[in-house]
């Protein structure tokens, strides 16, 4: 991660070859693998110190077997001197093959379906369809069309409505729907749902109710069952690799791993035992800019999260992820520029130039910048994606005046207090040598801060070493080593408060 003014920071990763910083001579490092849709990234971490000892990447070999690309990247790492890479612990996350495509079946769009959406996004899912009672007549065809990897079936608070989930379960069973089902609805209906799904030989798992009562969302319990279903059913079902090892390696969808890293950084990395303690970044925003989408993760303090969506029937979780499907640097570059124009982030000749650049990228999603101008355009588009995505992630305040007094309505998340933004994604890794000091300076100045809950001045940290997914993966297994990985890689920058 390069902090502001760190343009001279030496890049660790020089794709396509591997690298080995620091000259450490270690045996059997922990190996963290991110099977991405485009690249398979390997990160080797010293098991004791948690230090980053090397990294490598190779094109994801989705056309043959994902382990082929893994093997190629591993050989690069070994060639770069990390000889024992792969011999120790290997943990992986995956967004290859379309990631975790989730279909939600919920009773009311703004209640149980909304709670399910929040949890599914936090579990690294892509929401491919939401079917509510209003459209439940066409439930089976809609789910089938969505090509979902997993179905999240919700409805009714505990002790509340049972009929909807039972009927939906019967429809799924009789309709011969293929994907595994996670049932996270009214627990009183569980026996009837079980009978229906078992009767139709539907693969399913039971989770706690995602909205056990109005005003309370159950995140962790449901997320944990989604992870189990992902590992047991989804990864196998995607047939991305014939190798058993692949299924043993993959533990999480990639966005889920990144979210774990976000929590790790925000919660504070201070070690009570060691002198190298770090206060952590506190409330934090992480923006992952990709070719097709831009993901935003935010971690708020509990109090701030409570004030977000105040009065809402489905409260905001302290940690949340949103996905903007129309904001990307390649496939969705055109809609990105259109969205930025609408917000007047770009105007005139600059807007026209970027619109041309976007068209070029949509036509050639594999474009790798060959000239300084192309690299500059990539960064300009990335800046727009970051600003638009954060503004959408942020909530809105609305005042409704009535004869009896003002009604303050807040939707979305209050990220005004966030001072640290971490940027991650290939474009930043590729431009790690650029001086990104002031990348977001003034980006939010023209927003109406009485209504839009966007940040003001933020310090920008760029994940040029791309360790977030690795740290999140490691965190699930060993929080202490994950802490050390972040600390030894970026501690210097997280400590800085002067930016």
């Amino acid at each position: 991660m390069s902090g502001l003014g760190l343009g001279s920071e030496r890049r660790v990763l020089d794709a396509p070859g591997g690298s080995r910083p620091g000259g450490a001579d270690l045996i059997s490092p922990d190996l963290l693998v991110d099977f991405g849709s485009t690249f398979t990234k390997l990160t080797a971490v010293a098991p004791g110190s948690g230090a980053l000892v090397g990294s490598a990447q190779h094109r994801t070999t989705v056309e043959s077997d994902l382990m082929d690309g893994f093997g190629a990247a591993l050989r690069q790492l070994q060639a770069a001197g990390v000889a024992a890479a792969g011999a120790g612990t290997v943990l992986g996350c995956s967004s290859a093959g379309g990631g975790l495509r989730v279909a939600i079946i919920g009773l009311e769009r703004d209640l149980t379906a909304e709670a399910a959406k929040q949890v599914a996004l936090n579990s690294g899912g892509r929401i491919v369809t939401i079917v509510t009672r209003a459209a439940s007549g066409s439930l089976v065809p809609q789910v089938a069309r969505s090509a979902a990897d997993l179905i999240l079936l919700v409805g009714g608070t505990d002790g509340g409505d049972e009929a909807f989930v039972v009927e939906a379960a019967r429809s799924l069973a009789s309709g011969g729907v293929g994907p595994p089902v996670v049932f996270a609805g009214n627990t009183s209906a569980r026996a009837q749902v079980a009978a229906a799904l078992d009767g139709g030989r539907v693969v399913w798992r039971s989770a706690p109710n995602v909205l056990p009562e109005i005003g309370r969302v159950e995140v962790d319990g449901v997320q944990s069952v989604i992870r189990e279903a992902f590992i047991e059913h989804v990864i196998k079902g995607k047939r991305l690799s014939a190798s058993d090892r692949f299924r043993q390696i993959v533990a999480l969808p990639t966005p889920d791993a990144v979210l774990e890293a976000v929590k790790l950084m925000a919660a504070g990395l201070a070690s009570p035992a060691g002198p190298e303690g770090l206060a952590g970044a506190g409330e934090i925003l992480v923006v992952d800019v990709g070719g097709a989408t831009t993901d935003v993760y935010s971690c708020l303090s509990a109090g701030n999260a409570a004030s977000s969506r105040s009065g809402s029937l489905v409260p905001a979780a302290p940690v949340a992820r949103t996905v903007e499907a129309d904001l990307g640097l390649r496939w969705s570059a055109e809609s990105l520029v259109a969205a930025a124009r609408e917000l007047r982030l770009v105007t005139g000749a600059e807007a026209d130039r970027l619109a041309d650049a976007a068209l070029q990228r949509v036509a050639d999603p594999g474009l790798v910048p060959q000239t300084p101008d192309q690299a500059h355009d990539d960064l300009a588009l990335a800046r727009l994606a970051v600003v638009v995505a954060i503004s959408r992630h942020a909530g809105r305040d609305r005042v409704v005046l009535t004869s009896a007094g003002a009604d303050f309505r807040r939707t979305g998340r209050d990220v005004r207090g966030i001072r640290t933004v971490v940027l991650t994604g290939g474009v930043f890794r590729a431009n790690a040598g650029s001086d990104l000091h002031g990348f977001l300076n003034g980006a939010f100045d023209h927003f109406d801060r009485r209504r839009e809950l966007v940040p003001a001045q933020v310090r920008v940290i760029v994940d040029s070493r791309y360790i977030l997914a690795a740290a999140g993966l490691l965190s699930a297994r060993s929080p202490e080593r994950a802490r050390r990985l972040v600390l030894t890689t970026y501690g210097e920058f997280l400590r800085r408060t002067d930016d």
Binding site: E108, R133, G159, G160, I214, L401, G405, D407, D448, R451
Partner: protein
């Protein structure tokens, strides 16, 4: 309230500058000739305020009444008579709040078009001049001036007649018939405040009777005091006027009342004598037992007299007439109240050494500390909402638009506690909230005496369609205590949201309170939302069930609601009886 308004913002972008309005008011006041009140002239002082200061500093207690017959002539005659009878009965009468008809808050050209109400109308300059000179009593023009669309014209009239205390700052939340422009209304108020400020050197005081405004509805005395600090900031720091804050009618507990009075004195850093301490108007028995009421009045004014003797503020004493809750007091009842006040002062002087002020002072300090916290939170909160806290117009318009209960919810300083209606434990609960909490117990006791039903297993969604929370709080609390599983959605809930929750929770009952005069529309919309979702819980509506119908304004719509299948509940007891018949003695669930 301006409607349509700019959604998303509390204040419009094109507001006039408040300090410019203050300057305009000062210039206007400079053109008004100064007149000395007869009351001041006969006492050899320059102003009403100056005499109050002399009394305060010499241990003299003064008295006060409210009076407002339809004309000045009628009012004057009664005042003369009451004062004359005092010479025989041994009491004095120093001050009178002239209680006007609400039409006086409208500009003169609109007054004839509005419906007549009770109270005084000042029709001519001679009426105003008479109020200053016809009687040897200091007149106060408190109501329907500041805060009203007639603020400038009424203030000009009051200053022209030499009135020494002109109010009422607390009424900037008032609404008026035939008037819906809150920006102009508040702009005129600020200009009128500037007029009063210009007369500061002559002893003119800008008055507030705090319980005419939000203080009557706050649940925490810390909020009330912080709100008074807010007014002092606006009136003294920004506008530059002398400010008097009177209080008292909503206080029943003498400890609370005197502690709050002392807290008010602590924030009165310029030592402006308050106009009066009002008598308790909430403790009277509803059965019209005037003898019992007389004892209540004596007790109330006795403690106020003790405080004035021990910690003189200069506020006049007020003893509430015993018939206050039932009717406009007769002359005899006014005389009786002044006799009680006079006796209370005598008893207080002879028993003053028996009073232990330590618990009162301790409570004063608690209120004071909480009030300071509320004031700080309020100002920071207003800033966060984009309000210029150095502009008096922005401040009073923004707080008017936010509303008192919402302000307390947003900026209240007690610990969070969902068992209290505003979501926090008041630092020092007001008598209002104490009564509310006690009402719950009264209703429960009453129900249990009649054999309250066991509502275990009944799923009830409760909500308020507007910002009123009292009824909702009592309903939710009582139904929970009777065993129902209550989902309380709180205030300002929309019909679609209520219906969505009814669906998810499989509610047997939806109970909604409404007070905003749109009960029939709300009922129809709610049923529509429920029917669209194919659910049919029993629907109960309570509160003020009225709406403007063709040919009848604010008509009772209970019958229309019943026709739709909604149970209209005049009381909670009726609702519980309905639930008993529907769910306990009849089938347990409609589902």
């Amino acid at each position: 309230m301006t409607d349509p308004f700019e959604p998303g913002t509390l204040l419009p972008d094109d507001l006039p500058n408040g300090m410019d309005l203050v300057r305009a008011g000062r210039e206007r006041a400079e053109r008004i000739p100064e007149v000395q009140l007869r009351y001041a002239r006969e006492r050899g002082v320059a102003s009403d305020r100056a005499y109050k200061e002399r009394c305060r500093d010499s241990g003299v207690l003064t008295t006060y009444i409210n009076l407002g017959y339809k004309t000045w002539a009628e009012t004057r005659d009664v005042l003369r008579s009451v004062q004359a009878r005092g010479r025989a009965l041994g009491y004095g009468l120093d001050r009178v709040s002239l209680i006007p008809d609400r039409r006086m808050g409208l500009p003169p050209d609109l007054r004839e078009r509005a419906l007549a109400e009770t109270g005084l109308m000042m029709y001519t300059p001679q009426d105003w001049a008479g109020a200053g000179q016809d009687v040897d009593i200091a007149p106060i023009w408190n109501d329907h001036n500041l805060g009203s669309p007639a603020a400038v014209v009424n203030t000009e009239a009051a200053l022209s007649a030499g009135f020494g205390y002109v109010g009422n700052m607390a009424q900037h939340n008032y609404g008026y018939p035939l008037w819906d422009d809150d920006v102009t209304q508040m702009a005129r108020t600020v200009e009128a405040m500037g007029m009063i400020a210009q007369r500061k050197a002559s002893g003119t005081v800008l008055e507030a009777y705090i319980e005419d405004g939000y203080c009557a509805g706050f649940h925490d005395l810390a909020t009330s005091l912080g709100w008074c600090m807010f007014h002092r900031h606006v009136v003294e720091d920004l506008v530059g006027a002398a400010h008097s804050q009177s209080y008292g009618s909503t206080f029943q507990d003498p400890l609370l009342k005197q502690a709050f009075g002392l807290a008010l004195q602590e924030i009165n850093v310029h030592g402006v004598p308050p106009s009066f301490t009002h008598g308790d108007t909430n403790s009277f028995s509803p059965d019209g037992d005037f003898d019992r009421n007389a004892a209540i009045v004596f007790n109330d004014v006795y403690y106020t007299a003790l405080r004035e003797l021990s910690f003189p503020s200069g506020g006049a004493l007020h003893a509430t007439p015993v018939s206050e809750a039932l009717r406009i007091p007769t002359e005899d009842e006014l005389v009786q109240s002044l006799v009680i006040a006079s006796e209370a002062v005598n008893r207080a002087r002879s028993t003053i050494s028996l009073m232990d002020w330590r618990p009162v002072l301790e409570l004063r300090d608690t209120i004071l500390a909480g009030g300071k916290r509320f004031f700080a939170k309020l100002m920071a909160g207003l800033q966060a909402l984009g309000v210029d806290t150095a502009d008096p117009l922005q401040l009073i318009l923004a707080t008017r638009r936010i509303g008192g209960s919402r302000m307390e919810e947003l900026f209240g300083v007690g610990e969070p506690d969902s068992s209290y209606p505003r979501g926090f434990t008041p630092v020092v609960p007001t008598d209002t909230v104490r009564r509310l909490m006690s009402n719950v117990n009264v209703v429960l006791r009453d129900l249990r005496e009649r054999g309250a039903p066991d509502l275990s297993g009944l799923r009830v969604v409760t909500a308020s369609g507007d910002i009123h929370e009292y009824g909702l709080f009592v309903v939710s609390k009582v139904l929970s205590d009777l065993g129902a599983k209550v989902v309380d959605l709180g205030t300002s809930m929309s019909s679609p949201d209520i219906a969505k929750v009814a669906v998810e929770t499989a509610a047997d009952v939806v109970a909604v309170s409404t007070y905003n005069g749109m009960a029939l529309s709300l009922g129809r919309q709610l049923l529509d939302e429920l029917h669209r979702r194919n659910v049919a819980p029993a629907v109960y509506l309570g509160g003020r069930l009225n709406e403007d119908l063709e040919g009848e304004s604010s008509a009772d719509v209970s019958a229309q609601l019943e026709q739709l299948g909604i149970t209209a509940c005049p009381t909670l007891q009726v609702m519980v009886q309905g639930l008993r018949e529907r769910f306990v003695t009849g089938p347990v669930s409609t589902r």
